[in-house]
């Protein structure tokens, strides 16, 4: 009969030692990825150096191959939810070369596929952004040709806006919606989530002819470029962020798609709002270089009288409604519903788009419906 070992502090110490050694052996690469993805700071730099040193030391043992095999096996089973990994798995499977091709190879291919120079990279940064922007209707597609709309972005798209747009286009046979959003992402940190690699995988075979982008809420942070830490808002940071935005737009528009870039709305926290305003200024500068892309400011709909943060609004029937989430960042469904009529009006898919749900009174009621063209809002 085997003996039960008595629980004690020494036992706990030995268990933890066994755990630490094993986890370092099998997860040292994952730890380097974790450290790379930390918000840039001195602590993060120390973590990066430490995890890289551990990884370099342990890599020759080859134990991490288990991890790669495991990931590859799961991808083959369709377990992964990472579009780039799924695409890599699909490509490799189709080529009969499994498991010879790694995800990194696919990402690299996707990176090099964007060859056009970033047209907006050298554009000067303007002091401000226009408060009132218009969304002229797209030309109607030919009859029988459904519009393919891609919803692209971070949690500013994922929370609220995508839900409302999906609901309001659900009944429309003439609109095909492609979901290409991921919370917690942005353009500032391609080391965390590389949109240039992930976007092609997210849309797959679909060729969107209309794209709505809402992104940038996570970009108010520094990043490392060529081993140098660039603090948010510095000239070097702005220059690289402009280049990344331009490259992203080149990718979105390369097949002739029309794009609405939904600017970031005013935020509750003052310090955060300043960062957001800076990101808006940069994106406005870059987007202005693209005739196919419209930079659209949602502040007149979501903000107060002077575009300031506003959390509640009143419906035409006098009901008070929360238009922003309690976090002071994202839109609530009702807030997103304020933007939907103008966006769907721009989309102009077919004569009978069903736009229902909710219509609220904008803070600047300078008759948005009149400016944006015909209103399809059914008020209730």
């Amino acid at each position: 009969m085997r003996a039960q070992r008595f629980n004690s502090l020494r036992q706990l110490a030995a268990v933890m030692a066994g755990f630490a050694v094993t986890i370092l052996l099998i997860e040292s690469e994952a730890l380097t990825v974790w450290a790379d993805r930390l918000e840039v700071s001195r602590t993060a730099m120390i973590a990066m150096q430490a995890t890289s040193a551990i990884h370099r030391t342990l890599r020759p043992l080859g134990i991490e191959d288990v991890r790669e095999e495991g990931v590859a096996g799961l991808d083959r089973l369709g377990w992964s939810d990472d579009p780039a990994r799924l695409l890599a798995a699909r490509d490799a499977y189709a080529a009969g070369a499994w498991p010879g091709r790694s995800c990194e190879a696919t990402i690299a291919t996707a990176r090099t596929a964007i060859t056009a120079p970033p047209r907006g990279a050298s554009a000067p940064v303007v002091a401000g952004v226009p408060m009132r922007t218009t969304l002229p209707q797209l030309a109607q597609p030919m009859a029988g040709k459904p519009r393919t709309l891609a919803l692209v972005g971070d949690s500013m798209m994922a929370v609220g806006l995508s839900d409302i747009l999906l609901r309001q286009t659900a009944a429309d046979q003439d609109v095909r919606v492609v979901k290409a959003f991921r919370s917690g992402t942005g353009l500032a940190r391609p080391d965390v989530f590389d949109w240039m690699a992930e976007y092609p995988a997210m849309i797959g075979d679909a060729q969107p002819d209309a794209i709505i982008v809402a992104i940038g809420a996570n970009d108010g942070q520094g990043f490392v470029d060529n081993g140098k830490v660039l603090a948010f808002g510095t000239d070097a940071w702005v220059k690289i962020y402009q280049q990344r935005t331009a490259a992203f737009l080149n990718m979105l528009t390369q097949n002739g798609a029309h794009v609405v870039w939904v600017a970031l709305p005013p935020m509750k926290s003052g310090a955060y709002n300043e960062k957001i305003a800076e990101i808006n200024r940069i994106t406005y500068t870059v987007v202005s270089q693209y005739p196919q892309v419209i930079w659209w400011n949602p502040a007149p709909y979501l903000g107060g009288d002077k575009g300031a943060y506003r959390e509640f609004a009143t419906t035409p029937d006098g009901k008070t409604t929360r238009i922003r989430q309690a976090d002071g960042i994202h839109m609530s469904d009702e807030g997103a519903a304020l933007l939907a009529p103008a966006l769907l009006n721009w989309l102009n898919p077919a004569p009978a788009v069903h736009v229902a749900q909710l219509a609220l009174v904008p803070a600047n009621p300078a008759n948005h419906a009149k400016r944006e063209g015909r209103s399809r809002v059914i008020r209730r």
């Binding site: 933890m16 030692a17 609901r167």
Partner: protein
């Protein structure tokens, strides 16, 4: 700092090391744990650490004054003052904007409402939980359930202790303070049980809950109009599994971490979907909350002492307030009302003492039918709990009537759903046998197995870490 992150793992390993090295010096040990708890909370927002310390301090002072007061009147005065401060803090942060919007909506029904600036403070993480801890401390002092005098350090640590700080389980002062009064025993650490709980909790949260959320539930609740009956039904079942795995996963990790530090937390879930009636369900679901509501709300309201009608009213009040505790929205109130109704209906049904019916209730077929019926009644409640508005909740329910294929039923989804729901029927002896088996392994091998399990969970879980559902409560 979320539990399933490298940050928390590093933080916890450091705390574990230092805490046990200080275990002989109980005062220093507790002071260290208090500092670690504030650090843990400060990772989210340092600005709210004073609020946490303030609530702990108020409840600690009130508990001490209650114990020191010689007259019943003074005891009651201190209790009311302490509870009022705690509840008004909770009300301010959680219910102010809800209150204002509700009043303005009612006003709009009769006249044009005035233009007012609605205050809407950011909700401090875990405020509902630490306020309930604070109230428990004062109530237990008032009910003379605390055998020793409350020490301020103990009171502060009880309210802020990091494993339970954000989402419970809600500890009772009467069961936790005695643990703080003596040094932790380094020979009584239930390492195997703790490791199994942490692994089970991580698996439930990272793999099952996150997978169901991202691949099934979020999609259907985002745009229910685009899905038919099969997908909608799957999503409703999926949410039942998701919320169970999310919340019970969190508490499993919390209980396991506390266990490694030498503390015992109460069990918070006991296979809730195996319940056969609503009363049984609430004995198995979020046990620490349901017993809190029973002891500090339902019983003070009169419990079942005032006749059948009064009992039903007390049940409804308790469940309505329980619903509102979960969130400042009418959908949560409806969820609470539904459960209140279930409890009342079950009580009335149980009161029927017709012999053939009594005999039928004892059959296995009846038990399984009850289980199935209750599960679907609970699922109906989850629709309102999950939906951001009544419009979405009704749209989801409406889609159950529209034929449609199960387009979201992939292998991972079905596996996760099955594990999340059927896993509750696993015999207890399996866990005990596994615990026994682990106990026979060398300690280093156990650690290696634990690391292997974490590795598998990391591989199987979807990328990114979704916050725990109960964090927003």
């Amino acid at each position: 700092m979320l539990f399933p992150t490298v940050q928390f793992a590093l933080f916890f390993l450091a705390v574990l090391l230092v805490a046990w090295s200080l275990c002989r010096l109980n005062g220093v040990h507790k002071l260290f744990l208090l500092g670690a708890s504030y650090l843990f909370y400060g990772f989210w927002d340092w600005g709210y650490v004073p609020l946490l310390a303030g609530i702990s301090l108020v409840s600690g002072i009130a508990a001490q004054r209650i114990q020191a007061s010689e007259t019943q009147k003074m005891r009651k005065t201190w209790l009311i003052a302490g509870v009022a401060i705690c509840l008004s803090t909770l009300a301010y942060f959680k219910y102010t904007s809800f209150f204002f919007t509700t009043v303005l909506d009612l006003w709009a029904r009769v006249a044009r409402p005035p233009r007012v600036l609605i205050p809407s403070p950011l909700l401090p993480l875990g405020v509902s939980f630490f306020v309930f801890h604070a109230i428990s401390l004062m109530m237990d002092a008032y009910r003379r359930k605390l055998k020793e005098r409350v020490r301020m350090l103990d009171a502060l640590l009880y309210v802020a202790f990091f494993p339970q700080l954000i989402a419970g389980p809600i500890l009772r002062a009467s069961s936790f303070l005695p643990q703080l009064s003596r040094p932790r025993d380094p020979n009584a650490i239930r390492v195997n049980r703790a490791l199994l709980l942490i692994v089970a909790g991580l698996f439930k949260k990272v793999v099952i809950s996150n997978l169901l959320a991202t691949r099934l539930v979020e999609q259907v609740f985002a745009a229910p109009q685009t899905f038919g009956r099969a997908d909608t039904l799957l999503a409703i079942y999926g949410y039942a599994a998701q919320i169970y795995c999310d919340f019970s996963g969190y508490t499993d990790i919390a209980i396991g971490c506390a266990m490694l530090l030498g503390y015992r937390f109460p069990r918070n879930f006991n296979a809730p979907y195996t319940a056969t009636n609503p009363q049984d369900f609430w004995r198995r679901w979020h046990i620490s909350l349901s017993t809190w509501l029973r002891d500090y709300l339902y019983i003070p309201l009169g419990g079942s002492r005032g006749g059948a009608w009064r009992t039903c009213v007390n049940l409804m009040i308790t469940m309505l307030l329980g619903g509102l505790w979960h969130g400042a929205a009418w959908t949560f109130v409806v969820w609470g009302a539904l459960h209140g109704f279930y409890l009342v209906a079950h009580r009335m049904w149980n009161a029927i003492a017709w012999q053939p019916l009594q005999r039928m209730r004892e059959t296995a077929a009846w038990r399984w039918s009850s289980r199935l019926l209750l599960f679907h009644a609970v699922c109906l409640g989850w629709v309102f709990f999950r939906a951001p508005s009544f419009a979405i909740a009704f749209a989801v329910l409406h889609r159950l009537a529209i034929p449609g294929a199960a387009t979201l039923a992939s292998v991972p989804v079905i596996l996760a759903l099955t594990l999340g729901l059927a896993g509750q029927y696993q015999p207890l002896r399996w866990r005990k046998a596994l615990e026994h088996e682990l106990g026979c392994w060398p300690a280093m091998a156990r650690g290696a197995a634990f690391a292997g399990a974490i590795f598998m969970i990391e591989l199987l879980g979807p990328s990114g870490v979704a916050p725990f559902i109960y964090f927003r409560f």
